[in-house]
């Protein structure tokens, strides 16, 4: 009864509105994939960068004459809020035409939606959220992740920093899941490697003034100030360190590896900052160069930001899966769970039994002359320049 009623009232209007753009459609079947990320509010620059990258992957595939289907990207804003995340995930997952999702930058949102994807049997690949529990906190075979977790990142960071001879740290982190998680894992690994944390400060994600925390830090005279959080806060903290005359080395996390971080700072202040990020460096891979070229060609009004490459890789992987096994959720999930050593622009992808990409190599970055440079290629590693406090 309800279906009849619905068609009865909706048909005329929908027909009138939908008929026009249908002309000239190709003979290929249409397949929808969903992209979900924060497109408004404070994390929008990463979200929009990810959305553009996913869009690029879809456009490239559609331009490929060998592709079996025409793809449509169904992109949704989760506002970085779990309640909105559940909403849009339900929307995408309950639409039978949408085969898979490339979803979430904010960990709390991903945590809230994994149940939804599982319930609806929709394969999903995380493109940005870094909390380990998203993949390891459940046994859902639908959930995968191309980027590494913050565990890997901080293990490498702690190891590298202690080997550089740094001994004491003061940690500042934002009180979101992102910052708190980084703090927990970094502190843990640092302890194992023999580093010493003098003090830890939690700050809110919209805080402007850090002089109180930094003055306290100054008193403790650490070798390194570790910051767990995103670009805007990182910029402010680095600026205010200078204001207070703190000479310690600044160490960041993946959240600050973006061009915006350097643009937000005086070149003098940016110089020599260290940060770590999952995945092989995009610019080092032949595919990465291709990605940047294509991205520039598509003329988006904003760069791909820190996680655009992962979003591109995840989308490409989903499209490959659909090409290989057809637009069927179960089959795509099966295909994804068998992915081993598959090439992507972020390096080879292998999913473990929790859907986590295991070969997410961690790359060490340092800012040199206003650019993020691989540590191995930098003049710092060669000994020509020195990190702060050495």
């Amino acid at each position: 009864m309800h279906t009849i009623l619905r068609f009865g009232v909706g048909a005329m209007l929908s027909a009138a509105l939908a008929a026009a753009p249908m002309a000239g459609a190709s003979a290929k079947d249409k397949v929808k994939v969903a992209f979900i990320g924060p497109l408004s509010g404070g994390n929008a620059s990463i979200g929009v960068g990810g959305r553009n990258s996913a869009d690029l992957a879809v456009k490239i595939r559609n331009a490929d004459p060998k592709a079996k289907y025409t793809y449509e990207l169904f992109s949704q804003d989760d506002e970085c809020k779990p309640n909105v995340g559940v909403q849009v995930a339900t929307k995408a997952a309950s639409d039978p035409k949408t085969v898979a999702a490339i979803a979430h930058y904010c960990s709390a949102v991903a945590m809230s939606t994994v149940d939804v994807y599982h319930k609806f049997g929709m394969p999903m690949i995380v493109w940005g959220a870094v909390l380990p529990d998203i993949t390891y906190g459940n046994d859902y075979k639908e959930i995968h992740r191309v980027n590494g977790t913050m565990v890997n990142q901080n293990e490498v960071a702690a190891d590298f920093m202690t080997k550089q001879g740094f001994k004491t740290w003061v940690i500042l982190h934002d009180t979101t899941d992102y910052g708190k998680g980084h703090n927990a894992y970094f502190s843990k690994f640092l302890k194992e490697k023999g580093g010493n944390v003098l003090a830890t400060f939690g700050v809110t994600a919209d805080q402007q003034d850090f002089t109180a925390e930094l003055t306290k830090a100054k008193e403790l005279k650490p070798d390194v100030i570790y910051f767990g959080g995103l670009t805007p806060l990182g910029v402010r903290i680095r600026q205010q360190m200078d204001k207070l005359g703190i000479k310690a080395q600044f160490e960041g996390v993946s959240g600050i590896v973006s061009a915006a971080f350097i643009e937000g700072l005086d070149p003098k202040l940016a110089e020599g900052i260290l940060a770590f990020r999952e995945g092989a460096p995009v610019e080092k891979l032949p595919g990465g160069k291709y990605f940047m070229e294509q991205y520039d060609k598509a003329k988006y009004d904003q760069g791909p930001d820190a996680y655009g490459a992962f979003s591109f890789a995840a989308t490409t992987l989903v499209l490959d899966a659909i090409e290989a096994v057809g637009p069927n959720r179960k089959k795509v999930t099966e295909y994804l769970s068998k992915v081993q050593n598959k090439d992507s622009i972020t390096g080879p992808i292998s999913f473990d039994d929790h859907g986590q990409n295991t070969v997410a190599a961690i790359t060490k970055y340092v800012i040199q002359d206003g650019k993020w440079v691989l540590w191995e290629d930098s003049e710092y590693a060669a000994g020509k320049r020195k990190l702060a406090g050495k």
Binding site: G202, T231, E263, Q302
Partner: protein, 304 residues
């Protein structure tokens, strides 16, 4: 000891910025009994206007920091003053007879609109911008104590703006008109005061002060971003309230008090510095329970 001095300097700087924001709230409340919640975002627009002017001046080849600073301040002031007057004319005056909460909500929505507009339409607006250091950065260092020339200049500038405003309100004809409107609209009209004009000027003035605070903020932190007004507006509002609305001194007192609370929260609770906002706002709630009309209450008597 040196560190205590450092905390004090930080606190004074922060307090000056908060006081400047709070003064705006209290001015608007004085003349119209309204809360203009978009104040923090107007501040942000001012900071971006100042940033744009400084960049534009630098782009045409003038690298003199004084000229850049002047252009930055003048442009920021004129943009926000116009914006403030426009808000008063098209959003606040038309709603004067609507339920009071409407003005609060309409200005809150305007704040969101301004914030989103800057994020979307300012070139690369979603990322923080490096505000140029236009003030001398030489520093006085005594052990652990660092006082930078720019901080000192900013505090002095902020205090002189507040003193200037005080003189304007208390010593000029315009100030007299503002005070008259604040006390009683109808009597002021009868006495030949152009009511609408005074309201517009007051809003332009208050918003202009927000621009000063915005540019100061930019100069001090060397960074501006589209979200900077949100928390500053909230804090400025709380400061104006705990001081006592409609009172210039109250706003200043509130601003410094709030800065002190935050400093204290971060320093005195080293094990739990993340709780400092919880602490500051809890104190605000307690203060309101103790002094329900602010520390320096309005002198108006109850109308029955």
């Amino acid at each position: 000891m040196a560190l205590l001095g450092q905390y004090l300097v930080n606190g004074i700087m922060l307090g000056t910025i908060y006081a400047l924001v709070a003064v705006g709230f209290t001015l608007f409340f004085g003349v119209l009994d309204v809360i203009k919640f978009s104040h923090g975002d107007v501040l942000m627009v001012g900071a971006f206007a100042g940033f744009t002017a400084a960049m534009a001046v630098a782009a045409v080849g003038i690298s003199n920091p004084v000229l850049q600073l002047a252009a930055s301040v003048v442009f920021a002031l004129s943009v926000t003053a116009a914006l403030g007057a426009a808000i008063a004319k098209w959003l606040i005056l038309p709603l004067k007879h609507a339920p009071r909460m409407n003005i609060l909500l309409v200005t809150l929505m305007l704040g969101t609109a301004l914030r989103e507009a800057v994020r979307l339409f300012y070139p690369d607006g979603s990322n923080p911008k490096a505000f140029p250091a236009l003030l001398p950065t030489s520093a006085l260092t005594l052990g652990d104590f660092t006082l930078r020339a720019d901080s000192a200049i900013l505090v002095a500038a902020g205090i002189s703006v507040i003193v200037g405003l005080h003189l304007l309100i208390n010593r000029t004809r315009l100030g007299l008109a503002i005070r008259a409107v604040a006390q009683d609209e109808e009597t002021a009209r009868t006495m030949g005061i152009n009511y609408a004009l005074v309201v517009l000027v007051t809003f332009a003035l208050g918003s202009g002060i927000a621009a000063v605070a915005g540019v100061m903020n930019g100069l001090y932190y060397n960074e501006v971003n589209f979200g900077m007004g949100l928390l500053l507006g909230l804090i400025g509002f709380s400061a104006a309230i705990i001081g006592g609305l409609g009172n210039l001194y109250g706003a200043i007192l509130g601003g410094f008090l709030f800065a002190m609370l935050q400093m204290l929260g971060a320093v005195a609770m080293p094990f739990a510095s993340a709780y400092k906002d919880v602490f500051a706002f809890a104190v605000v709630i307690a203060l309101m329970a103790w002094k329900p009309t602010g520390l320096i209450p309005e002198r108006a008597s109850e109308r029955v």
